[in-house]
Amino acid sequence: MSKTITIDPVTRIEGHSKITLQLNDRGEVTEAYFHVTQFRGFEKFCVGRPFYEMPYLMERICGICPVSHLLASAKACDGLLAMKVPPAAGKLRRILELAQLIQSHALSFYYLSSPDFLLGMDADPSERNLFGVAKKSPELARDGIRLRQFGQQIIETLAGKRIHPGWVVPGGVNEPLSVEKRDKLLKQIPEAIAIAQRTLAWFKIEFENFREEIRTFANFPSLFMGLVTVDERAGFYEGKIRFTDSLGNIVEDKLEPADYPEYLGEAVEPFTFMKFPYYKPLGYPNGMYRVGPLARLNLVDNCGTPLAQQEWVEFRALERSAVQSSFHYHYARLIEILFALEHIEEYLLDPVITQSHARYTASLNNLEGVGCCEAPRGTLIHHYRVDEQGLITWANLIIATGHNNLAMNRGILQAARHFVRSEKLTEGMLNRVEAVIRAFDPCLSCSTHADGRMPLWIRLLSSEGKVVDEIRRGP
């Protein structure tokens, strides 16, 4: 007798989704689907708006990574103006992007996932949260809060607001950085670096306790995609697109982000609102690839900053080729925090950073513009077309989380086949299936944050619809 298990909603992620598992008559998982149940429609309702409004409209997509949308959109608008930005503005934008990466990664690692690591995948779900972490390891909780605070503080110092700032504009940024503000930020970097190193040291020891999860959490060969700079580092703000395979070989390199329609296809499936991007030459679904922290560290031959480089060498030593377990997204996230802190320090110490000329102006010069950057979760592309008056006629957004859609679906199937093996459901069993999704840190809404209010209700149904088993979280 076949059965269906539904996990609805998936908790401790950004946005709304559910998971359906199908079991055969032997109680084995045969299919797994990750459903994104919300629809946003930003590509449609911006049509008709002046292009210069786009950065501020588009950043409202997300409350966690608005800076990435702001930057990708501003870069697309830079393209419409056919202009580069002043040197100071370029570096300030890069700092903003890295600061956002710090606060977003800190939220993902410390707030959403560290309860699983510290308390265990099978811990009582009423304690498996940040409060549980605070009780068991106050230092870890304080460290997470401090890192997130620092990322937000950098954003607020530069851009005036922690969330949805309007400081980045087509052609540069609105206001240069003062020496006083720069010095205030610089003073705090050593403490933040010490936190990142402390957490890395702890987390690497914890790997021993999660061998089964490392082996089964979306651990399979795939392509990896991301931006790489001319000096072969991960390009968070700039670069060309590189694809590598699971052996670490470069499949394609130096692809222009603006040419994405030539190498990226987008498939749709009836069970979800999220599209399925794929690498065109391999077709759908064989063209599965992964983006984000794991991919970025797999794509490059060096990390580029001294302390992060040491960690990157250890990370890459996990496997002979590319690191394939998606459990190690968490590890990669911590290394990227360290990299971001070191890199921000480099930028802040550059005398260019306080130059007063931070914006160029121009009129509309192109009718099409593409902006691309690496959001915390992966490659983000904004593509706009405008009419002669500069009004948006068409927009396409390829959101970082979407790139991972094929891998997330395949990943939950792999984990469910391993952990969900009987008719008797346990909460810990299903938490592991959710944790696969959490490893990717998907941002689905991006700006809806309703989980925590909604109950989790998992039902095991017979093919006739009879409830065989069920568990509930919340009311």
Binding site: R12, Y111, A134, I145, R146, R148, H449, D451, L456, R473
Partner: protein, 154 residues
Amino acid sequence: MSRALILACGNTLRGDDGVGLYVANSLADELRDPEITIQCDHQWTPELAEPISEAELVIFVDASASLPPGEIACQPLQPAPNPPAQFTHQTSPSALLSLAAELYGHIPARSYLLTVGGKSFDLLEELSEPVRQAVPAVLQRIRELLSRPQRPES
């Protein structure tokens, strides 16, 4: 250490949901005391636990979907004995007090949640009439709380 921390929460694009921010902005114009910190947020998040732990008085200001439109409630707060099981990056005031005590070993001597009943949470950038009329009374209530001697609420 701040003598007082005023934390407003809401979304000014959703009608009366933004009343806390209107109140906070009015206070920022009125109060120039360096010992009083006013902060506006879309949500209350765990990062607030640290500044809360450093204040002697904290006042949370928010809209309420359950109070009648324009009605004001002022509730003394204690740390939540059992913080919510499901938790991401949005936290209740009492849970924040709990987190402040757990992580930083100190909570304000006095903590209050001041709420105003909303009438409309639709997509608009203005307050409804009953909520607008309630704003002066909310401001007065906050002034009273700020002027009261620092002692624990009985």
